[in-house]
Amino acid sequence: MVEAAIFQGLSWNPVTDLRELFTYPFMVNALEAGTIVAVMAGVTGWFMVLRRQTFAGHTLSVIAFPGAAAASLAGVPLAVGYFGFCGLGALALAGIAGSRRSLSAESAAIGSLQALALALGFLFVSLYHGVLNGVDSLLFGTFLGITSGQVAVLLVVATAAVSLVAIAARPLFFASVDAEVARAGGVPVRLLGFGFLLVLGLSVAETSQITGALLVFALLVTPAATAHQLTPRPLLGIALSISLALAVTWLGLALAYFSIYPVGFYITSLSFGVYVLVRGGRALRSRRRATAGLALEAA
């Protein structure tokens, strides 16, 4: 049934095509899961880019891979592996950040953790006798076979995480841009840093289940980085980050449905394309402004 749907292809009638997208329950589940994940990734990603913690975020996503592999090996739901390993990874990263090392020593420690995670993932895959045929979907994502139960778990976790970020929004923003003054003003800067890493771990665990462990960045970093390029206003930036994540997820899922290529590829390429467009547009604008300034000076 699934195969038939995929190979039917586009009818080029937008109404029929849209209607077809919502015909199959697996596709409805995928769209619901994608929507939940995109909102969560848009919010936490915006703060992650602001805090310059994309390397830590990437490491968490690499840690998601052995988590999923270990879950397959143990015969428990993948979500258990994702959430368990990303939670532990967040604790480890918080420990590294809390030890007050220099920035270079910190990134070296995070990098070592990342290598260990990849190696563990590979070990678990080899230990899984026979073929772990989902290994490429663990790494690069899939939208097939998402159950309503999984969607419910995603929704509960995302609601909890987004609510936590909302409650802590202002102190977290303060601690992220101006830690020393925030601390002097009574903001618990270290506690917030630790809490944010945990929320980031949850986001990565959720996003991995759609985009795969290696393409988490497509939803977590690229829309947020694009939003930061578009506006320095915090609320507008978060709204843009969510909207972009939603747009690339919906479009990516639709494209993947009507073609034979994986969803991770589409989501990643779409968000990368938007990022390049925005960067290019900004560069062009600042050059034009500079030329205009020169002309003004000359006149």
Binding site: A166, I167, A168, A169, R170, P171, F173, F174, V177, D178, E180, V181, A182, R183, A184, G185, G186, V187, H228, Q229, T231, P232, R233, P234
Partner: protein, 287 residues
């Protein structure tokens, strides 16, 4: 010899007797990692005084600020800040830490940074259109106007000059109407004309907002004309008094326990010669 504590005018003494001092240290000492940074320090900063904290590198100037903020404990003696133990009056102190500048990649508007000074420690999301939100916005607007940053407060702060960033950071420190302003080397990274402009701004704020200012400085000359008093840290101790009384060969020689000479240039600038550490005046000042 002049007693530096006896220089206050009678009118000023009367004013100080009426109000509680902004900062009062009594025989205070600080130890960091087993080393005594300074000891037996007794200083008083009166209400709405503009006081410079001077001294060579490593004398414990920033340490003094951290003690007032309650971030470092005293090893001996006692301290009171705005009539309470240090750390108990966070909301009434404005603080501007050392060497804070934002690189060009920082995509935050100055106005948001000032706003954080007001509500950055509050949890939850404010309701749009709530009266408190409008009041906050009005105060942010007012304080940005006060420091003269209205023209560029809505640009990303990373794209502004050092002087413009410093004005916005002073606005952030002022936004909660503090009774005490702690500024750690706010003039350090500025060029000369900006140093003079920011010093004049701080003097004006001190008078108009009735706030005591403690300013850590490397070079006394840009602020000399605006100061009420000076706290000079050196040789593990401190001397407090008016600039004319403290920055003298005799007083500084006693403090350092070594011969120090203070020279006055023809334009009124002070040059301290013979300091064991760190030049007092760095670079040449022309034009």
């Amino acid at each position: 010899m002049i007693d530096p504590t006896a220089v206050a005018t009678p009118a000023k003494q009367e004013a100080e007797a009426r109000s509680e001092p902004a900062v009062a240290f009594d025989s205070a000492a600080v130890r960091l990692g087993g080393r005594t940074i300074w000891s037996d320090v007794s200083v008083t900063v009166g209400e709405a005084d503009f006081v410079a904290v001077l001294g060579p590198n490593g004398a414990g100037k920033s340490t003094l600020i951290k003690v007032i903020l309650g971030l470092l404990p005293l090893a001996a003696g006692s301290a009171s800040v705005l009539g309470r133990p240090p750390g108990d009056s966070k909301g009434r102190i404005g603080y501007l830490p050392q060497r804070r500048s934002f690189d060009t990649g920082t995509r935050i508007r100055g106005v948001d940074l000032v706003q954080l000074g007001l509500d950055g420690a509050r949890w939850g999301i404010p309701l749009p259109g709530a009266p408190s939100r409008r009041r906050d916005a009005a105060r942010v607007h007012e304080v940005i106007e006060l420091v003269g940053a209205t023209g560029y407060a809505r640009q990303p702060i990373g794209e502004l000059s050092g002087g413009e960033q410093q004005r916005l950071l002073i606005a952030q420190a002022l936004v909660r109407r503090p009774k005490l302003l702690l500024l750690d080397e706010p003039l350090d990274s500025l060029d000369l004309s900006n140093q003079a402009a920011v010093a004049a701004l701080i003097r004006r704020i001190c008078e108009e907002e009735q706030v005591a200012v403690l300013l850590v400085a490397h070079d006394i000359n840009p602020i000399l004309g605006y100061l009420d008093r000076v706290i000079y840290l050196a040789g593990g101790g401190a001397i407090e008094g008016s600039p004319e009384d403290v920055i003298t060969s005799g007083t500084l020689s006693r403090l350092y326990g070594a011969p120090i000479e203070v020279l006055r240039a023809s334009d009124g600038r002070l040059v301290v010669v013979g300091q064991p550490e760190a030049p007092f005046v760095h670079g040449d000042r022309h034009g």
